[in-house]
């Protein structure tokens, strides 16, 4: 089963490199450069556009829409909603990263509004953010997972993920020590990556952008949203652990750059040899 998952993800990754799907991002200004570069590294093509007067057009020429609320503001929130609705009309996949949901009223309301008004394909966040989406107490510490939420195990976490997936009819990916990806029925676990990834800003955002890149390459042959979400999460985990091995002696700056390096070098051999992925 692990083998089949890896094969599906490998095929979808090859599909990205063949199709070079355009991935529309409405995202934050902190990590936007890394998001664009990791999308290019995996073989897709990024476009960042957030003005209400063009987001619907840009979404309509794209293969996926990534919404990231990391530095949301009143202006861009309207663009997120408009772009999301347009994507829904056109059947274009939408990935949401509810950065810091739980940390402020504005983030909470925006997350709730997006969940209510836009039909998501994949929702990716840390345990605190997804717990917020579940209507549970989310002890968010800024944009990072809280210490309490970090200790929640894979069993309890997958319950939360499945609930949210069923509630919103989308795939949910919770990234953490063990990543949990579920469509409410099937649940995939990934144990790649390293905890040091939280020492570089944007590893969560980059993961979401990779999920968007995989979503932009979905087709009947390669699989649907569950595989796309698992593909993005796995690619990010592998990039992170390979980068850490390569750069850990140098420091976090080199580690950061090595993540993009590793994403750009990712191939089926590496996936086959290193993926710690299973369904349970």
């Amino acid at each position: 089963m692990t083998r089949e998952l890896i094969d599906q993800i490998t095929n979808m990754m090859e599909n990205i490199r063949v199709k070079k799907p355009l991935i529309h991002h409405i995202t934050n200004y902190v990590t936007v450069n890394d998001c664009a570069n990791i999308v290019l590294a995996i073989g897709a093509s990024p476009i960042m556009a957030d003005d209400i007067d063009e987001v619907e057009t840009i979404t309509s020429i794209s293969s996926a829409l990534v919404i990231n609320i990391g530095t949301l503001n009143r202006r861009t929130i309207e663009s997120m909603v408009a772009a999301g609705k347009r994507a829904n009309e056109l059947g274009i996949p939408v990935v949401l990263d509810p950065v810091g949901a739980g940390a402020s009223g504005l983030r909470n309301e925006t997350t709730e509004r997006l969940l209510a008004e836009v039909k998501l394909t994949v929702l990716r966040g840390n345990m605190s953010e997804i717990r917020f989406c579940a209507g549970l107490k989310a002890d968010t510490k800024g944009v990072e997972v809280s210490e309490a939420d970090q200790k929640i195990g894979a069993d309890e976490g997958s319950e939360v993920a499945r609930d949210v997936a069923r509630k919103f009819g989308c795939v949910v990916a919770i990234t953490g020590a063990t990543d949990i990806i579920t469509d409410g029925e099937r649940t995939i676990y990934i144990e790649n990556g390293t905890r040091h990834m939280s020492n570089v800003t944007g590893t969560g955002c980059m993961c979401t952008s990779l999920v968007g890149s995989f979503c932009g390459a979905m087709d009947e042959a390669t699989g649907g949203p569950l595989i796309a979400a698992a593909g993005g999460v796995l690619a990010m985990g592998l990039a992170g652990e390979l980068a850490y091995e390569a750069a850990k002696d140098k420091g976090y700056g080199s580690f950061h750059i090595a993540i993009i390096d590793a994403a750009s070098k990712l191939d089926s051999d590496t996936l086959g040899a290193r993926a710690k992925i299973y369904e349970a």
Copy 2:
């Protein structure tokens, strides 16, 4: 003739390092850090400012203005126009990068408005963007050149470039496999760089920022806009190919950083030895 071009560009580059011209950018938030760093690397000084209440002042103390519409919005479009007009009044060179022109109504209208209301010194874009400026069918794929436009050869491309240069009375630089730089009369071709540069976000933006840096160092002794545009495009091509040679085994993250490295190390010897530039 190649020798003379290289000498002129070398002199202008030395002028940048002596004068350290201030280059005002109204640019996008995706690649802004790279634009600032490559301006510093070539020896100029960047300032990014986009509020309508200060852009005219900031332009007035600068040696060149770079307008890049990569993540344009209603607020910054007005700032672009106001700064451009002020630059015109003061005789300060203006460089426009119409990122993604052809991809949305907003980008199209803004490009047309800037072309109509601001007298440009240099217009730099890929073939799709410049074709849009020419009023031709531009098959823009997001912010990248389309596959069809990419196949347009240097002969047809230089016709388009010359038409646009004459229409708007500015230098036009189309970057691609062969870069084309023309003032409508003289046409310069550059064959440095590597196609892999499109795998790092912002190599087009950085090129435009280098053109702006050269424009900020123009004087009677070193040459005018045609040489400045060729200088910026050549510097970017050399930085890209040197970076690719240095970092290709590591991946795109290292390649990205090596571009800034190479720009900061660029000297007359490298220009003399590697520049593939000619007038025809």
Copy 3:
């Protein structure tokens, strides 16, 4: 005395790594990624949020607020004031970086407004910016210190710094060849760093973010704002000089990354061996 300063700073730095304080930034989009990454590198946790509808909430859950006016606009200026006032109400330290004060009316008015309406803990800038805050002629060249101001010696500079510190009741840090940090009574000098740091954009902003990180870790045992400001400035100087030694042969791109590397590797041994800090 040097030994005592180093011990206090070392203790505060260890406190950062234990407490991992959340540092709220309202900052510019040019260097924001580096600011976030250097905050992580030193052991704190960054959150960037600038919408008026959430800044007060985000400040209230943070251990320090960093305000940086590098790419200020009408929207974010209001957020800066609101967040600053909220921080004052809650006793949360506020650090201001008046980027480019002196260069435009908007920057001048905003700096004056923040100085008038928000009680600062630390004000950090270059000599031109702090001279502007002192009401002196500031010959600001864009966002860099002017050549004239750069030549002002430590004696005259410390007079300016002390005047501003007394006027606004805060710690003032002027960074330059010799860094000057004063609360109006005690004055600390630091001679680490390298002039090459001005060749990478954001070294000033990163310095301010480190000061914010130290401020977020202050307590009775480790010291107050003067030590926090000195700690941030010293950490930045050491990161810069270590990075330059490591990467100078490669170029400015590698130097940039090596700054984050060095910040993430900074320890008490390095501080003890290399800090050039003294009180006079």
